[in-house]
Symmetry: C2
Subunit: 132 residues, 2 copies
DNA sequence: CGTTGCCTTGACGCCGGTGTCAATGCCTAA
DNA sequence: TTAGGCATTGACACCGGCGTCAAGGCAACG
């Protein structure tokens, strides 16, 4: 399978596939003319990468998942290294959620503050609740 | 007040202050020698910018807040334009929280999946719960 | 032989806020 | 006068995943 074909099957670009290879994620042999030649199994690998990228993982984090697939597992997240990454990411995501939740609180507080006081006078909001 | 002094008072760098000015956020007059001369009030403006940046706003979003301060309000978020930005950001943050929460669910699901099946065999996790 | 279409490598652009370096100018104290 | 400290503008670097263009090689068909 040539790069263009794999790109189309995987729903991505040749640029992207070369980029993944450059970072050691996707493997390719070479034809006599220098063209990349891909095993069918690489399609699965590319799917895994795309899926994890979409979930917010970085290429570096994805490596263990790919290695896990190559080791013959039917899914990439069943190996210890992958699990470790999943744990880290989970913690990270929890952290983000916490921060965003705090931020949300502050935003709502500021909105309340802004809506209660000056908008009662300027009547700029149709949903003003306070009584002058 | 010269730029170095303001930078120190605001806890940031001269580079940063020039950048803010370049984007119309901070105002400065000029001395005869071309040095920037800052009003005392700009310190408050810089505080506002830093605070909002830290909260995840972009410089563009921050402009209404600064304008609100310059209009004489004691806080930058009481003006309609600021409120609008706050609303947008709140919705945006809610979206992020939702996405992250979904992602969190998927991560936990994958962790469970990985912990239940293969780690029962390899005994790599001290917290294995399943019975072979 | 020319065109078309695939492939190759290499390199710049983007986004956003800032660090950092360069080359140069002004001011002040010794 | 000179050194040193502050100022000026301009420009590159970073991060990460990829778009996109350039300049060229190879294959197949007319």
């Amino acid at each position: 399978m040539l790069i263009g074909e794999l790109a189309e099957k995987a729903g991505t670009s040749t640029r992207t596939l070369r980029y993944y290879e450059q970072h050691g994620l996707v493997h390719a042999g070479r034809d006599a003319n220098g063209y990349r030649q891909y095993e069918d199994a690489e399609l699965r690998v590319v799917y895994e990468i795309r899926s994890l990228l979409a979930a917010g993982f970085g290429l570096e984090d994805i490596k263990p998942f790919v290695a896990c697939l190559r080791a013959g597992n039917e899914s990439g997240h069943v190996c210890p290294d992958s699990v470790e990454v999943l744990r880290r990411k989970l913690a990270e995501v929890d952290g983000y959620i916490g921060q965003l939740t705090d931020l949300r609180q502050r935003l709502r507080a500021q909105l309340n503050e802004a809506v209660e006081e000056p908008l009662c006078q300027t009547m700029l909001s149709p949903t003003t609740i306070c009584q002058p």
